[in-house]
């Protein structure tokens, strides 16, 4: 048991590839948690152990014993955070479990938008920040410039920035001392009723839900009856433990400490990130603040290519949800695509991850409809209706207005691309906010943009226009009334919900024209002429026709050719598997995918 004054809880915040895991490894090695020689072996042993115990622990919190230069021994808890903005709520809960953060920036790359977004989150949580410039050993490194940028965004001085090379180990000792010296110890009251924050939670096939907890007040012991306050769930604390990084079962955890808790509960819904754990018998009167229901931002319809796979898709979604309580879905029927699900995601990355896991891990062939955001329709009756799919939009007659969600977007770009970035944002109905120069070469731009305008391909466009140099981050802002219309795409006279969308009136015509033109290229010729139309209500705004196929035959077939011909037909038949029947029209999967990438 360590006195709270000797505990330091911290996270490492870094942009992807800026060296977060190498730095973490180096800290473990320098403090003797892992010897340099055993590093690889030990990690492997660890995995075996996990397998034996049937737990797959995500590296979420590692306890390190560190004896400072002063001779005092300390307990350092390194808490992992998800890196991406889609999971900013999870990030904020992880940061809530810390008193400080090590903000890492690549000496050759400088500050990136994602780093900054997480740094701002950390500052908002009241965390002490230790700025670090990593990879100072690289030939392309410019530690001075990176340090200046960091000082500028954090409002400190370049001298406070610690320069390290996680690769060579340079500066690691200085960083460890700074963690002890600069970061505050945890507060909290050991005598008060138990309050523990659940800052991560995942499902293990054998053990059920495993939660990472930070003890804010009081103390928790094995076999205690505890309550999860958001869900009023009373259970026994069956196992408590820590990672060093090897798993180690402990009898209890006290104020300021971090560890894991297993209760045997199997439903992840019941133990959610952000919840407060207290004792059933002597509960706290006040849960920790900040618990939020996960709130999906982006919606997309997922339909199995083969209608018979609907039940398998449901099972797969149920399984994914065991590990991802933010995933929401409900069954949906599409005239064009049959039975499927409307699925809500935290953001675009989340959507991509889920889709990829469904296809790869569950071997499902899916058609995904164009992502849409959650609109709010204000009806003449005074009612408000949530619109999560273009099909949910009530008739124009009963509508007074439609509101759409906006996001605050932050973009960091080299100065030379400011013009093209502004151009892009303007096309996407963005409102310019502040602009600051991090250095003469790099600027930080702030905008308000309708979320719908960035769900398609904004990030790709930004990267293309800035040769990959710009970085982007966003967070939800408020809802606002916009002049929005639904553009329906009709294939052979039947509206295809997968291609229909809600857009700003000014963009309806270009959208319709582009979509119709694109589909004409992507949909192969059929047995009959197929008209493709774009319409607002009953008004057709664009039309093309796919002419009926006239020739599909091998000219010459002679005796010797028959085997070869049959094999050719079989191959061609295979190639047609990835078609989806929409009414009487065969539509290739690529058409649905390409519809998502439509540039208007």
């Amino acid at each position: 048991m360590t006195a709270p004054s000797r505990i330091r809880n911290f996270s490492i915040i870094a942009h992807i590839d800026h060296g977060k895991s190498t730095l973490a490894d180096r800290l473990l090695e320098r403090t003797g948690a892992i010897s340099e020689r055993d590093m690889r072996e030990q990690v492997l042993d660890d995995m075996d152990l996990e397998r034996e115990r049937g737990i797959t622990i995500k590296a979420n919190a590692v306890r390190i014993d560190y004896t400072a230069e002063s001779g005092d021994s300390h307990q350092l808890n390194l808490i992992d955070t998800p890196g991406h903005v889609d999971f900013s709520y999870e990030v904020s809960r992880s940061l809530e479990a810390c008193e400080g953060a090590v903000l890492v920036v690549d000496a050759s790359q400088g500050v990136e938008a994602q780093t900054l977004a997480n740094a701002y989150l950390a500052i908002e949580e009241g965390l002490e920040i230790i700025p670090v410039v990593n990879k100072i050993d690289l030939p392309a490194a410019d530690p001075d410039r990176a340090a200046e940028e960091l000082a500028k965004v954090l409002g400190g001085t370049a001298e406070e920035v610690i320069r390290v090379s996680a690769k060579t180990g340079a500066g690691i000792d200085e960083l460890l001392e700074a963690i002890v010296d600069r970061l505050p110890p945890p507060g909290g009251d050991e005598q008060a009723p138990l309050r523990a924050l659940v800052f991560d939670s995942f499902y293990d096939t054998f053990r059920g839900v495993v939660s990472s907890v930070r003890i804010v007040d009081g103390r928790i012991s094995r076999r205690d009856r505890v309550r999860f306050m958001a869900t009023s769930l009373d259970v026994e604390a069956a196992e408590l433990g820590i990672r060093r990084p090897a798993l180690e079962v402990v009898e209890g955890l006290t104020t300021g400490e971090v560890g894991y808790l297993i209760t045997g509960v199997k439903e992840i819904d019941l133990i959610r990130v952000g919840d407060t754990v207290t004792h059933t018998a002597t509960p706290t009167g006040q849960a920790l603040p900040g618990y939020l229901e996960p709130k999906p931002m982006v919606f997309s319809g997922l339909f199995p290519t083969d209608g018979d796979e609907f039940e398998r898709l449901r099972e797969a979604l149920d399984k994914l949800r065991l590990n991802d309580s933010s995933l929401v879905f409900q069954a949906e029927t599409s005239r064009a695509l049959g039975f499927g699900f409307r699925v809500g995601f935290l953001g675009l990355l989340h959507m991509e991850i889920v889709r990829e896991r469904l296809e790869r891990e569950y071997d499902l062939d899916l058609v995904a409809t164009a992502p849409s955001v959650a609109y709010v329709a204000n009806l003449a009756s005074g009612e408000q209706v949530a619109v999560r799919s273009p099909q949910d939009l009530p008739d124009a007659g009963s509508l007074i207005s439609i509101e759409e969600p906006y996001v605050k977007v932050m973009i960091i770009t080299p100065s030379e691309y400011i013009g093209t970035v502004m151009d892009l944002v303007q096309q996407r109905r963005g409102e310019m906010g502040e602009m600051t120069y991090l250095s003469p070469e790099r600027a930080e731009l702030h905008y308000r943009i309708p979320l719908a305008e960035i769900v398609f391909d904004f990030f790709d466009q930004l990267k293309t226009r800035t040769r990959g140099y710009a970085s982007l981050d966003y967070e939800p802002d408020n809802y606002q009334v916009s002049d929005l219309v639904r553009v329906n795409i009709l294939l052979n006279g039947i509206p295809v919900d997968a291609f229909s969308t809600i857009v700003h009136r000014d963009k309806a015509y270009p959208y319709g024209k582009a979509m119709v033109g694109r589909l004409r290229e992507l949909i192969p010729r059929q047995l009959f002429d197929v008209p493709i139309q774009a319409a607002i209500g009953t008004r057709i705004i664009s039309r093309e026709t796919i002419k009926a196929q006239r020739k599909d035959v091998t000219a010459k077939c002679y005796g010797g050719d028959i085997t070869r011909k049959r094999k050719l037909l079989e191959r061609q038949k295979e190639g047609k598997r990835r078609m989806k029947m929409v009414g009487q029209v065969e539509v290739p999967q690529e058409a649905f995918v390409a519809a998502l990438k439509l540039e208007t």
């Binding site: 047995l527 009959f528 002419k547 196929q549 006239r550 020739k551 599909d552 035959v553 091998t554 000219a555 010459k556 077939c557 002679y558 005796g559 010797g560 050719d561 028959i562 085997t563 049959r566 037909l569 079989e570 061609q572 038949k573 047609k576 009487q584």
Partner: protein, 402 residues
């Protein structure tokens, strides 16, 4: 000619309409022999057949090849009397008439050729003279098909053909005066260099020669050919809609000239349907000799080695130079019969596969769209240019459906 162990054909087809169901069904019991002659003066840019051009390494081996062919025919285990013989290629007329006669004699000696058999040869117009016509006729050939391809010099040039339109015309006339029973003209349509007007002139010009058989094939881009390489490099590709227009043009004109279309790409006057081809489309058995030739007998499809040197070596070692074979199970061969039969204007008997096919979702769509029809108990593709599309749908029928 001798050897009619299995008796003469029971159907007298001399007056049968080429597209009649009775003729087609009779053809399923015919037997034939195919001999491949791989030699050509040069390789045409669209051709992917087993061919040795005179200017390619390995050329100039015609005599050795003929000896190998005779040896291969001599390896036949017993009589297999045939109703049709076809010498194809390549360019069979690259081989001297004397040798071609020896090949026929050897087939008659080892397999047996029926008395009124169709004995056909493929010929290039530039090799064809009055003298050649008389020689071949006297050896027993009674059918010739000329690789005319087009009467437009620009198109002939694009197709890499050596003959002129005039040579094509005189070849047809010479064959008829020599007494060939069936004279066929082969055409290729849809070459990018061809226009609608040029194609109309070709069709009109060819029909004016009054051939009693016509084959017209859409130019097909086969992988690995010079044509496919030049298209990859940016040359224009055949346009399927233009090809459909050309097909409609030739189909109408041939019909008006008294020729009936009996297969996707073949038209004939009464009694002139190609027996060898009809039989192979109706799953008749055929023996095959020469490089890359395919044999179909006793439920087995086998093929010969395609490379000339390897074929010669194999035969030289006293073996049938086979490179592979395949035996289809009952369901697969029934499905194959059905799919290939769809190419015939007479349609195909439903058999095991037809019913489940018509009942399938794809089958119903094709019937609704007027692409597949049912008449006189036979299933017919009403839009012949969509036959492959129909055949692919047939592949969805599984043994469990039957």
């Amino acid at each position: 000619m001798s050897g009619t162990d299995h008796g003469p054909r029971t159907t007298d087809d001399t007056a049968e309409l080429p597209d009649s169901a009775a003729l087609a069904e009779a053809a399923s019991s015919w037997r034939s022999a195919y001999v491949h002659i791989p030699f050509c003066a040069r390789r045409c840019p669209y051709c992917d057949f087993a061919v040795v051009a005179a200017d390619e390494p390995g050329g100039g081996e015609i005599e050795r090849y003929v000896e190998a062919l005779l040896a291969e025919i001599g390896m036949e285990p017993g009589p297999f009397p045939v109703d049709a013989v076809n010498l194809g290629g390549g360019t069979p007329t690259r081989v001297a008439s004397l040798h071609l006669g020896r090949i026929l004699d050897e087939i008659d000696a080892h397999l047996g050729i029926a008395d009124n058999a169709e004995i056909s040869i493929e010929a290039n117009p530039e090799d064809w003279t009055d003298n050649r016509a008389r020689e071949l006729r006297s050896m027993g050939f009674n059918r010739v098909s000329f690789g005319v391809q087009s009467l437009d010099p620009l198109v002939l040039h694009a197709l890499g053909r050596a003959h002129s339109p005039e040579e094509a015309t005189s070849a047809v006339i010479a064959a008829r005066s020599a007494g060939f029973n069936t004279v066929s003209v082969d055409l290729i349509y849809g070459t990018p260099e061809e226009s609608d007007a040029s194609w109309r002139r070709t069709v009109r010009g060819v029909l004016a020669l009054e051939p009693n058989h016509l084959s017209a094939y859409a130019l097909t881009v086969e992988g690995g050919t010079a044509l496919s390489r030049s298209i990859s490099a940016g040359a224009p590709a055949p346009d399927p809609d233009e090809q459909a227009d050309r097909f409609e043009c030739v189909d109408a004109a041939a019909g008006a000239a008294g020729l009936s279309r009996y297969e996707v790409s073949n038209w004939a006057g009464a009694g002139h349907a190609c027996r060898y081809n009809l039989s192979s489309w109706m799953m008749g058995e055929f023996a095959a000799f020469g490089t890359g030739a395919h044999d179909h007998r006793f439920g087995v499809r086998s093929r010969n080695i395609r490379r000339l040197d390897a074929y010669l070596a194999g035969i030289g070692a006293g073996e049938r130079a086979r490179s592979g074979s395949e035996r289809l199970d009952a369901f697969e061969s029934e499905r194959e019969r059905f799919m290939v039969g769809l190419r015939l204007a007479a349609g195909v008997e439903p058999g095991l596969v037809g019913g489940p096919f018509l009942a399938s979702e794809e089958g119903r769509r094709l019937v609704d769209a007027g692409i597949v029809g049912l008449g006189d108990g036979r299933i017919v593709v009403l839009r012949p240019l969509l036959t492959d599309l129909v055949a692919r749908s047939v592949l969805s029928v599984s043994p469990d459906d039957c």
